[in-house]
């Protein structure tokens, strides 16, 4: 019962924040409501007993990515122009609505095979074993590290003053 209330509260906050990001006229406020949306998603992760992911979400999205976005909003000083829609407003609305309908239809009509076993808790040690242990995702971890290094170097090179 408590989980249900928490889910509905977080879902409403998350969807409302996402809607505010899209409909908000002020870019800076949109960035701030995006932070609220990230926090709601972190709460959803906790409900799904993914404690490590919730911490990662707070650290990387709320702590890192939102700072980057807010900094970019300040640097470009396009705030006074607001965030107007382009000519494709109605077709985009149509496409999004049709996509949502198709997704909801396929999700509700698929016979999911649910597992009855209890989730692993806490997940941190199990995740580390999964990613770094034998037969795990160690190659992907190394590739992700290289990707991050390349992306950061690329970002520095792109924004550097000539």
């Amino acid at each position: 019962m408590g989980l249900d209330i928490a889910f509905w509260a977080l879902a409403i906050i998350g969807v409302a924040a996402a809607l505010a990001v899209v409909l908000q006229g002020n870019v800076f406020r949109a960035a701030l409501t995006l932070v609220l949306c990230f926090v709601a998603v972190a709460g959803i992760y906790i409900l799904l007993s993914a404690d490590f992911l919730a911490a990662v979400q707070i650290l990387i999205y709320v702590g890192g990515i939102s700072i980057l976005i807010i900094l970019a909003v300040m640097l470009t000083r396009d705030v006074q122009h607001g965030s107007p829609s382009n000519k494709l407003m109605l077709p985009a609305l149509l496409v999004a609505a049709v996509f949502l309908g198709v997704l909801v239809y396929s999700v509700t009509n698929t016979p999911w095979v649910l597992s009855v076993s209890q989730p692993v808790e806490p997940t941190t040690a199990a995740l580390a074993d999964k990613m770094l242990g034998g037969g795990g995702f160690i190659l992907a971890v190394e590739i992700a590290a290289t990707l991050l290094l390349a992306a950061i170097l690329g970002a520095i090179v792109i924004v550097r003053e000539k």
Binding site: A72, P84, A92, A155
Partner: protein, 104 residues
């Protein structure tokens, strides 16, 4: 009202993804488009973790995927914002309609 299960999380994920899709298609400001992309990535992550929780709770594969998605999203945001700032320096605008040098 039925108790919250996999379907609820998947539909929440679908709703968030559609909101992000609508924003990414209909906004002019490149930074707002990037924000909507982040919403879409978060929606996909919710679906991944929900599958991990309800279909294979002991395997944790969905959570590993979500971590990699977060890594790629962080790299994408850094490079994307760098490109946007570089464009703003050169053209004094970040409206996606006006960035049309490569369009014919």
């Amino acid at each position: 009202m039925p108790s919250v299960g996999l379907l609820h999380y998947l539909i929440l994920s679908a709703v968030l993804f559609s909101i992000g899709l609508f924003g990414a298609l209909s906004k002019r400001n490149a930074i707002v488009i990037l924000m909507c992309l982040e919403i879409m990535l978060n929606a996909v992550n919710i679906a991944m973790v929900a599958f991990s929780r309800y279909i294979a709770p002991t395997l944790l594969t969905g959570q590993v995927f979500a971590i990699f998605i977060i890594v790629v999203a962080a790299a994408e945001t850094a490079v994307g914002l760098a490109i946007i700032i570089a464009i703003y320096r050169r053209h004094d605008t970040i409206e996606s309609d006006k960035i049309n040098l490569l369009k014919w």
